[in-house]
């Protein structure tokens, strides 16, 4: 007995590719923007080597603002900005902008926690050996916090896979959109089950790889 697919197989591969593109691109942006944001939050905090309550507080407020807004609301609220950046408000690229903007503060907060746990004695040792500020960030803060940052990035990826399901609202496609349109609106249980299985496999793979990486980093 062979399985008969209710929709063409290409729909699945296309949706899978769309999800990967959205999650991959927005995670990349979140990583590149989130790390400096987290570093800024740390070094401007009281006791940091660029301590500045005003900068720290305003950065914190911006981060909190984006963290407080539900993604589906952000998706719509950001439409004018998305159009400005990508020239369009529908499709994969239109989804990447709000996904990245919602993931960046999320990841920055997690990275901030890992950076804050770096032993202050190490910072002192680096200062004593003649490290400049950016040396301390590059050689002490980031490598020492790396296991926590990798773990936090794994969590961010999983959250992004989940958020990307809502991107169908702007016609971006992806696995979540497939499940809503076929599984829910057309009562196609087969599509629903396959999509859920694929998402579970994807999330498990991401989590497993992240955990392995963190364990390897910590075992050194």
């Amino acid at each position: 007995m062979s399985l008969t697919l209710s929709i063409p197989f290409e729909r699945y591969t296309q949706a899978f590719a769309d999800t990967l593109a959205m999650v991959g691109a927005s995670a990349g942006i979140a990583f590149v923007a989130g790390i400096p944001l987290a570093v800024l939050l740390i070094v401007t905090a009281p006791g940091g080597f660029l301590a500045s309550p005003r900068v720290h507080r305003s950065l914190g407020s911006v981060v909190n603002g984006f963290r407080a807004t539900p993604f589906i609301v952000l998706l719509v609220a950001l439409i004018p900005f998305t159009r400005m950046v990508t020239g369009t408000t529908i499709g994969v690229w239109a989804a990447i902008v709000p996904l990245a903007i919602s993931a960046t503060p999320f990841f920055a907060r997690i990275a901030e926690v890992s950076l804050r746990e770096v032993d202050p004695g190490l910072i002192e040792a680096a200062q004593a050996m003649g490290c400049r500020k950016w040396h301390i960030v590059w050689h002490v803060y980031l490598p020492e916090a790396l296991p926590g940052i990798v773990g936090g990035f794994t969590i961010t990826l999983v959250a992004l896979i989940s958020s990307s399901a809502m991107a169908g609202a702007v016609g971006a496609g992806g696995l979540g959109d497939l499940a809503i349109r076929y599984g829910y609106q057309r009562f196609d249980t087969q599509v629903m089950l396959i999509v859920i299985a694929v998402l579970i496999a994807l999330v498990s793979l991401v989590q497993f790889s992240g955990d392995r990486w963190v364990r390897w980093l910590r075992s050194r």
Partner: protein, 406 residues
Amino acid sequence: MTTAAPRPSLWRTVAGPAPQRPATAGASPSTPVHDLPPTQPARRQEGATGLTGTVAFDRVAKVYDSSAGPVPALEGISLGIPAGSIFGIIGRSGAGKSSLLRTINRLESPTSGRVLVDGVDIAALDDDGLVALRRRIGMIFQHFNLLSAKTVYDNVALPLRVAGVRPAEVHRRVEELLALVGLQDKHRTFPARLSGGQKQRVGIARALATGPEILLCDEATSALDPETTHSILQLLRDINRRLGITVILITHEMSVIREIADQVLVLEQGRIAELGEVWQVFGAPQHDATRALLAPLQHGLPDDLQARLRPEPPATGTYQRILRLGYTGADGLEPDFARIATALQSPVRLVHGGIDRIRGHAQGRLLLSVPGAVALPPLSSLVQGPGAIAHSIEVIGHVADVEHSL
């Protein structure tokens, strides 16, 4: 065995030809560095300004702001530390040792007063000047503060890399430094896999990487066991002798000071309690804080003897007088039992006590017993002049003879 290596000529300078190091393949990694054959005592650079590596404090004070108001940590500290010496700072917890040490490389800034390194007021340095100063001052820590994400090699290489030293030069110097601290086989190891003593050796190698003239040691042996402490102190002394680096260490253990320091500063509640040559301070402590810190090292009165000791001789029966002889280490006066017996005109018995030699000065306290039947000469005549047998003598009590049933 390790061959006599020519002194690396580049401890201080970054440029110059690489010295030919003989193969050290036969060197056992466990070979303590201080067993290396003595070589030229120092390669200290003597320029127009004379020796480098002096530190001077001029009325240094530090006040911390706390929620309960200002808390003074240091007050009126003025002293000079000569180049090439080993200078110990000791005090109880909260005495301000750490704050004082940290003002030398400006990890902390004094509230008032000046800190001068080689005559330069370091408060006036800008960012570049401060970085340059810190490259001339190495520092090691109680908890080692090694970067866990970097290998031993990369930890030692870091100060050189951030100073912009060429990779080939970095490699050569890291090899040299790891050989110096006896860890030449640990290049690729991460700090988590090292013992405490090995971690501190990495810390020392890292602190020496930029060829500093001053090495600050912040409770460097307080987290180590006695044996490892001894080997680390020997390494520090060896480095001080061979490289001529001024070593400034803080500790709460007098035994550390006794083992390696030349001069000692006793801090008490942020003020100078006592300052001087170690043998002088140990031999004749002037301040209560010093005596309290010295107490664990001294041969006090044993409890059983204390219990039997009476201020007056017993009314009946024979008894022993207990004499305490003190030696401060001055004038080369040492306990000479033949002379003591002659001077007291009596047989003497050593009951308790001990003598330590600090930088060649014998000091300590001896408890002697002298039969009560013997009349003692005036004790004051025994502590001065050519006939002196000790720096101080006193009768601390009398003990009745026990009837032995032998």
